[in-house]
């Protein structure tokens, strides 16, 4: 059993050394009054430095990252995370800067923010960019707040409905609720795109806007995108682009050209910054000219003399996060722009789409392909052609036995037994072929030896885990000496 850090703790061990304190004598005259003094000491582990290193090294060995192997999680864009990005982000003249220092002391940081704003503006076509949101869903919330303030200023307070396709990321409706709007679901048609008749029936004067991912979560480009955005604009609504799937579009099409008013980008997806096991991310928001004044701030402006200043946009919705957002993430995205260049980014999107279509073509013999059209950077499969009593979960767990990371499963919700595969441009033909062969082999195993799938994984650090009892009787922190919560 893998011990936890408390189980290797022993009283008296230490992992850090302090120099003698020059104010030791002075400190004797100080005492914390009883009413402020902590009564019960927090229990923290006591471990020597080398054993902290071993503990977390062992934990890292029980993890899987993009550097370990292919990680085709749909809508997550698990591309290669360039190492130069990490080197730059760790430079002390960036990482040791304080956000409350004066502008003149941090001109380097501000120039980077300003240039990154410009690069993202070019990537999306949107003239206004704020980098402040910390993640994709945070960007969604921010975009919806901008929408709301704009509608309030137009006198359209009755506009409360936001239309969202049934294939959308779960964050879309959750963000709608958090921004005080009402989510209205529009269904997809047999081709996997928005059903235009159903859309017409939902649009009315109470329509505040629509949220859409394009290509959508099925990996399909919404062919009616220009008509969709027009119809929403015709009733005075705004259209929001969930930019999670921008990796299909770079240099090919842009949210502005598609008719969107607001977009967020996930720097931790499209722009190669690592996801860190769940974060930090960064979710900058871009808007059309008429919404620029509503952006959260501060944003960085350049003066003629090459001096950079922070400014709050005139009608800003306010701040959505402390200071200027996740600067450490911007540095990595900025370096990615420099090392890739405009042409490199376009090529990345083209190859991402090539990789996805290639995998899809190779897998159709054994897996159900619900949508035959060309896909973009990702595609979905509706489970095995001949599943027997094998589920998509079984397929995913069996992939782990072959030492690769499974795709996203059971999402989007509208595809039964869904496998959502996004290979990204980082994977070579050989790696794709290996992954394809594993999936084909698993399809064969499903017919011949289904127990291999039912029992999988057997080669990981743990087997399938009981998720039901923990949700019922949660153990959410270490039980010291078996004590109850």
């Amino acid at each position: 059993m893998q011990k936890n850090i408390y189980e290797i703790s022993k009283e008296g061990r230490r992992g850090y050394y302090f120099d003698t304190y020059d104010l030791e004598d002075y400190s004797k005259s100080f005492d914390i009054p009883d009413k402020f003094r902590r009564e019960e000491a927090p229990r923290l582990p006591e471990v020597s430095e080398n054993y902290v290193v071993r503990h977390f090294t062992k934990l890292s060995n029980r993890n899987y990252g993009v550097d370990t192997g292919m990680y085709p999680l749909g809508s997550c864009t698990m591309k290669y995370n360039p190492k130069i990005n990490e080197v730059v982000a760790a430079m002390p003249n960036f990482s040791h800067t304080h956000p409350s220092w004066r502008e003149k002391h941090v001109q380097g940081n501000m120039k980077i923010i300003n240039e990154l704003q410009g690069m993202l503006s070019e990537l999306t076509g949107m003239p206004g960019i704020s980098l402040q949101p910390a993640a994709g869903s945070h960007g969604e919330l921010t975009g919806l707040m901008i929408m709301k303030q704009y509608l309030i200023d137009q006198g359209d307070v009755h506009k409360k409905n936001i239309i969202i396709p049934d294939s959308a990321h779960g964050t879309n409706p959750a963000s709608v609720a958090m921004a005080g709007f009402i989510a209205k679901e529009v269904k997809s048609n047999a081709e996997g795109t928005i059903d235009m008749d159903a859309l017409s029936q939902l649009i009315d004067e109470n329509t505040a806007g629509l949220m859409l991912t394009n290509p959508n979560t099925l990996g399909l480009f919404e062919k009616d995108i220009l008509e969709i955005t027009k119809r929403i604009h015709d009733v005075g609504g705004l259209v929001y682009c969930d930019g999670a799937n921008m990796n299909a579009n770079m240099g090919i099409t842009r949210p502005l050209e598609m008719g969107f008013d607001i977009v967020h980008l996930n720097l931790h997806k499209t722009l190669s910054t690592p996801h860190g096991g769940g974060g930090p991310g960064s979710g900058p928001v871009g808007v059309v000219s008429s919404l620029k004044d509503y952006l959260p701030g501060p944003i960085v402006k350049a003066s003629d003399e090459d001096f950079y200043t922070f400014e709050m946009p005139a009608k800003s919705i306010g701040h959505v996060k402390n200071y200027f957002g996740n600067f450490g993430v911007y540095l990595r995205a900025y370096v990615y722009f420099l090392t890739m260049g405009g042409e490199g980014l376009k090529l990345a999107s083209q190859l991402a789409v090539l990789n996805a279509n290639y995998m899809k073509a190779c897998l159709k013999e054994a897996y159900k392909v619900p949508y035959k059209a060309l896909c973009k950077h990702e595609f979905v499969l509706a489970g095995l052609k001949e599943p027997g009593d094998v589920s998509t979960l079984d397929v995913a767990k069996r992939l782990i036995d072959y030492k690769v990371h499974p795709p996203t499963i059971y999402f989007p919700l509208i595809v039964e037994q869904c496998l959502m595969i996004e290979p990204t441009e980082s994977e070579s033909l050989e790696t794709l072929d290996d992954y394809i062969n594993i999936l084909l082999k698993i399809a064969k195993e499903a017919k011949e030896q289904p127990e291999l799938l039912h029992n999988a994984p057997t080669t990981a650090s743990v087997r399938r885990l009981d998720e039901v009892s923990v949700a019922r009787n949660p153990v959410l922190s270490y039980r010291f000496n078996g004590e109850e919560q």
Binding site: F36, G65, Y80, A177, A183
Partner: protein
């Protein structure tokens, strides 16, 4: 081909043939021509590593040289010493190149680290349940406000005017668009008087959100406050600099229902303000109302201990618009840094960091007090920062820059108030340097 792209022309040709199209462009024929970009994006050309490093080094030099300046700036982001093993271990790419742990069998590293972190946050805050983190302290505070409004079915949030402007700003934005009210309680001598607070506790109040130590560095005396609030069926939310919690009363000991704060102080560099991590903990009673990812301990088929994301019925991917929050990405790598930091330091370590930060601040306050032209603004218990008043704060900042000293943050230009912060990174010599320089510029 670009070094990040492994395709050869032969590979591309082979793949196109398998797909059944002639060219890469043919893969994009489903896009309406009107939506296609007409001309290439105006972005720079790709550059080599050498050139990029040189360019970024130069940009770094446009900031002040952090190694040679003495900064007494805090107010929410703090410089502490970071054990070398922290950046070293979080650089293991099995950690930092992983996604959210959706497949628990191959994500036990991330999951167990979060579980250990949740345990440490419960211990520090004195509360029973902690989540896997928020974007920062202020967004955690805003989510706590939503959580309190949801749990009490009320729509007014009380805050003291001693809350930091960053937190106030974020709260204001979040609450405004959800049509919730924000009411500010005035302070006296840099803290809120519970007699004044009493007059603000009405039956529409969901919670009182108070920071201690507060923005001015003062500790809020919360004696009797949780009782007052609970009698009114309102909740108490306490925000803290968690480094102070080894010295001072924990949110749990004050009777808080929810505790939040920014965990940057645990092993994370200042990073110009982000990324950091926002922690959140609550009572067991509120567990199912809590937003964010939560890791639970369970058993695998062989009865072996393992960890999974749990209580997911609260979350957006299941509940969609009925979820407790839209949060998905959090700050997992910063959480990992905090966990490694706390494992390395232990209680004795963070106690020593907190003690030295505190004593340094007391020493500095003591020695600045005697200087003509400086007024210590409040007579309160402090942790590691405090407010002084000078005749011309702008002038003081400018003059001290000549010594490569940033003495603090001007928090009020009209009143010329300066917030001065110290931590264990300052040696006695640094504190004396500031005192001497202040004497000189105010003489």
């Amino acid at each position: 081909m670009h070094p990040y792209l492994p395709h050869t022309q032969a590979d591309i040709d082979h793949m196109l043939q398998k797909i059944g199209v002639e060219s890469i462009e043919d893969l994009f024929t489903d896009i309406d021509a009107k939506a296609l970009l007409k001309s290439p994006m105006r972005l720079p050309k790709a550059e080599s590593e050498g050139r990029v490093i040189r360019k970024l080094t130069k940009l770094g030099e446009s900031n002040i040289d952090t190694a040679n300046w003495l900064s007494f700036v805090g107010g929410g982001i703090y410089e502490h010493l970071i054990p070398t093993i922290v950046p070293h271990l979080i650089s293991r790419s099995e950690f930092y190149t992983a996604y959210t742990p959706y497949q628990p069998e191959i994500s036990q590293g991330t999951l167990q680290a979060i579980f250990e972190y949740q345990t440490m946050i419960c211990e520090l805050t004195g509360l029973q349940v902690a989540n896997a983190s928020h974007y920062d302290g202020s967004t955690a505070l805003a989510e706590a406000a939503f959580m309190a409004c949801g749990a009490t079915r009320r729509d007014t949030i009380l805050i003291p005017d001693t809350l930091s402007p960053e937190s106030k700003n974020v709260l204001r934005t979040y609450l405004k668009y959800k049509d919730l009210n924000l009411v500010e309680v005035p302070s006296k001598d840099g803290v809120v008087d519970s007699d004044i607070l009493k007059d603000y506790i009405h039956d529409d109040v969901a919670a009182y959100l108070v920071a201690t130590p507060n923005y001015y560095g003062n500790l809020e005396d919360l004696t009797g406050v949780s009782e007052q609030l609970h009698a009114n069926k309102s909740l108490l939310v306490i925000m803290s600099n968690p480094m102070s919690l080894s010295l001072f009363k924990s949110p749990g000991e004050w009777g808080a229902d929810i505790a939040v704060g920014d965990g940057q102080v645990f092993g994370n560099p200042m990073n110009f303000g982000g990324p950091t991590l926002g922690y959140m903990a609550c009572t067991e009673k509120l567990m199912r109302k809590m937003p964010g990812r939560i890791v639970g301990e369970t058993l695998d088929l062989d009865g072996k201990r393992g960890y999974v994301l749990t209580l997911q019925a609260r979350e957006q991917h299941i509940r969609r618009e009925k979820a407790t929050s839209n949060i998905t990405s959090n700050e997992a790598l910063n959480v990992l840094a905090a966990t490694i930091y706390l494992s390395t330091m232990g209680l004795a370590g963070i106690y020593e960091v907190a003690r030295r930060s505190h004593i340094n601040a007391c020493y500095l306050r003591d020695h600045l007090k005697g200087i003509k032209g400086i007024k210590i603004m409040h007579n309160q218990q402090i942790f590691n920062e405090f407010v002084i008043q000078v005749k011309d704060s702008e002038e003081v900042m400018k003059s001290l820059e000549l010594f490569q000293i940033i003495p603090g943050i001007i928090i009020d230009h009209e009143q010329n108030l300066l917030l001065i912060t110290t931590t264990e990174v300052h040696e006695k010599e640094d504190l004396d340097t500031l005192v001497v320089a202040m004497k000189e510029v105010l003489a």
